[in-house]
Symmetry: C2
Subunit: 319 residues, 2 copies
DNA sequence: TTGAAAGCGCTAACAC
DNA sequence: GTGTTAGCGCTTTCAA
């Protein structure tokens, strides 16, 4: 069924039907009622592809996640995706999933299958991001970058790292070190800054993921006993390694929480970001961009700091 | 730019341009070359929305994942999604993400935003599945169901559970029990069957996830020392619980592997399914359905059994 | 308030 | 081999 059929059945023009459905333009209340009633009865719904063609859009938003090999074992991305999906749904848009591979992103952009993109996680010199900029496809980055003019939404990793480090240092009088991720990830450099804010000159083991045992060895050797992990993956690995070795005279905390940390005892203090909210916020910003609104360049989202059973909150929202 | 512009610039009709691009219909090699060259030079790509409208499709496939609250902490779904995406991309389709919520699925189906769906994980009386059947939207289920006429792709959970149980029983002369998930998940009932194939009359703790400690208590009390976990989430929880208690006189294995189990020592034997392959296979089947081909009703995928360092393979593919 | 007609960008049936 | 024409289903001027 098409609006033409409805028009025929009701003895009006399809223009009128279109107007009645969309609410654009004037239609008599009576006509409108009849159209809506007919739709209901016949379970009619306008064809979104046709609407899109007429409107020159796709009502699709591409959500770009790290490719398969780069995909860490964390629920983060899916939560982010679902957050974005919920927001997109509010505005009758859909989320299409894309891996961070240039040819995939290109195909979708070139053929206008998506109106804009959400780029989750960025590394330096991200070819996909450069492409999006070059092509002038509107996008929002979840994460941070030094690249000019990119709309970003991110947790306030620096503040969070600073605060958690400070709290841990106050609670435990131990020498602190950071087991960090790869240097090419902007977020890890930011975490390092926050960490150093509260623990100047402390040791940092970069790229701890590639060899957790070695990183742990060298940090312990230097007398570090308060170990901050950059994220949940590193932290989980670290906690397991310590369990295995029977190391107990240390304290562990993480700059990024996830369910996988909840299983350890004693509780691992950790920064909690709301991944769904990040996705939703990114989507919201993108939709506003697509509407021609100007958006803040940087949106920093609240975080919580989990400290065992009590949950202490420390928030900051800036622009 | 549109194909009309190219037609104008080259002094041919837009039909010819269309034919040159799509390869459908006869075009002289020379004309074709000119069109293609012009496209290259001007970075032209046909508008997929217009193509879709003309073809009466969306070139979208909905991938339905459990909603946010039901989402377990496993990388499974994202891997599945990416597998499906890769396959969809081969055929110039995109994957749109949908939570398993009836109103979302409805909206997309009604407005024809997707040509078909992949339904990942099913529970009994899945309202979404019933809706898809009712609406006659082509779909493929990743998982199993008793519902008639549903195209399913799944790991061979029964055989895998049977074999792993058998192997473990042969290696260790211990009394075996299964820590299972919810009974409403078809896959858990299937795992139970496989388990019982090799360990008749053994104990099964259903819904172990909701209270792992209690489940463990009762099973240990009954003298069970070989604990099979239904999946990675349960297994991880179980292993942590045992670590915490210092229980060491037991053996653990899992009917579903994931990275989160790789951290435990000693190695936890586990069934390995290829999640990406499952997504890809489901997508492939769906695309064939959309092409009007008939597809096997049930596709069971290969699995591997991981036993510490050595990786032993046991495959079965049925239809 | 309503309708006729043109158009969104592409495809395809039917001529030539 | 190429062009004409009529759609795909909806939106949107522009008149009436």
């Amino acid at each position: 069924m098409t609006i033409d059929d409805i028009a025929g059945a009701l003895g009006v023009s399809k223009t009128t039907v279109s107007r009645a459905i969309s609410g654009n333009g004037r239609v008599s209340p009576e006509t409108r009622r009849r159209v809506l009633e007919y739709m209901q009865e016949h379970d009619f719904h306008p064809n979104v592809i046709a609407q899109n063609l007429a409107a020159g859009r796709s009502s699709n938003i591409a959500f770009i996640v790290p490719g398969r090999e780069a995909l860490a074992d964390t629920p983060y991305f899916l939560r982010c995706l679902l957050g974005a999906e919920a927001k997109a749904a509010e505005f009758s848009n859909e989320i299409i999933l894309l891996p961070s591979e240039l040819d995939r992103v290109k195909r979708v952009a070139e053929r206008r299958k998506a109106d804009g993109a959400i780029l989750s996680r960025s590394v330096d010199n991200d070819a996909v991001m450069e492409y999006l900029i070059d092509r002038q496809l509107p996008f929002v980055l979840i994460g941070s970058t030094d690249r000019d003019g990119v709309t970003q939404v991110d947790g306030d990793h620096r503040a969070a790292a600073r605060i958690l480090t400070k709290i841990m240092l106050e609670k435990h009088d131990l020498k602190a070190a950071l087991l960090n991720g790869e240097r090419t990830h902007t977020v890890n450099r930011t975490r390092a800054e926050g960490f150093l804010d509260s623990a100047p000159d402390a040791d940092i083991a970069w790229d701890a993921l590639s060899n957790i045992g070695e990183a742990l060895d060298s940090l312990l050797e230097k007398g570090n006993r308060l170990l901050l992990a950059a994220d949940d993956v590193i932290c989980s690995l670290l906690a397991h390694e310590c369990d295995r070795r029977g190391v107990t005279d240390i304290k562990i905390a993480s700059f990024f929480s996830s369910d996988s940390l909840k299983m350890f005892r004693p509780d691992i203090p950790a920064v909690e970001f709301d991944s769904e909210l990040q996705g939703a916020e990114a989507c919201s910003l993108l939709l506003r961009k697509l509407d021609g609104e100007t958006t803040p360049r940087i949106t920093l989202l609240d975080y919580k700091i989990y400290l065992g059973n009590e949950t202490e909150t420390a928030c900051e929202t800036c622009e």
